[in-house]
């Protein structure tokens, strides 16, 4: 059973996690854990949350997946790791489109902050488009969208640089009449 943590004055935001809550910091290296805890604790509380009501059953919905794993189709320009290596506070702010028939044979991943060999062995670990195709064939989801998307999750301190890509992805989803955007950050 879920809840709205914004309406819960006792919410600890995972620091520490309460009974029944996931520990959001468990699988983070110590320095990153400390940094993110401080960011969550000291950052401005979100005051405007976008919301679109559910309009169709899942079995009639078109779904698209968004990843932050730095994915590109083979043949497309990969995300820029060389600049990030030279400028460690910089992340590639561009975006890529991936097709609905994507698989481990047709994808590349470039990301300095996660171990990419897991997803390159089995996309469903974090980019479940192959699994969604199965669910489509079974009638569980209505349709897997023609396009799916990736950005680079690491962006350094200024996230505003990512806004043009976010707008472009949203516009592309609207053009393809996507009903559900499933975001799986890495």
């Amino acid at each position: 059973m879920g809840s709205n943590p914004f309406k819960d004055p006792a919410c600890t935001w995972g620091n520490p996690p309460r009974a029944g809550e996931c520990d959001p910091y468990r699988f983070l290296e110590e320095a990153i854990r400390n940094l993110l805890r401080a960011n969550v604790r000291d950052g401005a509380v979100a005051d405007e949350i976008p919301w679109a009501p559910v309009r169709k059953p899942l079995a009639e919905s078109r779904i698209s997946v968004v990843s932050t794993a730095g994915l590109n189709m083979k043949g497309d320009t990969p995300f820029d790791m060389e600049t990030e290596r030279k400028r460690p506070s910089w992340g590639d702010p561009t975006w890529r489109r991936l097709t609905r028939d994507v698989g481990v044979e047709t994808i590349e991943a470039n990301h300095l902050h996660i171990e990419t060999r897991h997803l390159l062995a089995d996309l469903d670990v974090c980019f479940p488009v192959p699994l969604l195709r199965e669910l489509e064939a079974e009638g569980v989801v209505g349709e897997v969208a023609p396009s799916h998307y990736s950005i680079m999750g690491f962006q350094g301190p200024d996230l505003r640089r990512l806004e043009p890509s976010c707008v472009a992805i949203a516009d592309a989803m609207v053009a393809e009449e996507v009903d559900i955007a499933l975001f799986v950050p890495v």
Binding site: C22, G43, V125
Partner: protein, 102 residues
């Protein structure tokens, strides 16, 4: 709809619907080859999409990571930014110790 390990970001990012999962980044649906688990988690996340009652909703999925001896969620070599963060944290701790000792 977000399937997210670091669900606490919700406080500052304000995502409409979150399925929280206590799995390593990069493997939010499970380890390589765990097809049954991938399916369970994906269906659970999609159910959160359908049942979330209001903006900001968070539901904590009950699935537990079964590979505690697997440390491959830490990339090797570490990213350059991590080295900067580690040094900054070390400096902060050192300053705090000096202030405490002063």
């Amino acid at each position: 709809m977000v399937l997210n390990s670091i669900w606490a970001f919700q406080r500052i990012s304000g995502q409409p619907r979150v399925a929280a999962i206590e799995f390593p980044m990069g493997r939010a649906l499970g380890a390589v080859g765990e097809a049954k688990l991938h399916r369970e988690i994906l269906l659970a996340a999609l159910e959160v999409f359908e049942t979330a009652e209001e903006p900001g909703w968070v539901e904590h999925l009950p699935h537990r990571w079964q590979h505690d001896d697997d440390r491959t969620w830490l990339p090797d070599p570490p990213p350059p930014y991590l080295l900067i963060i580690r040094e900054k944290w070390r400096e902060m701790v050192e300053r705090s110790r000096k202030r405490a000792g002063a």
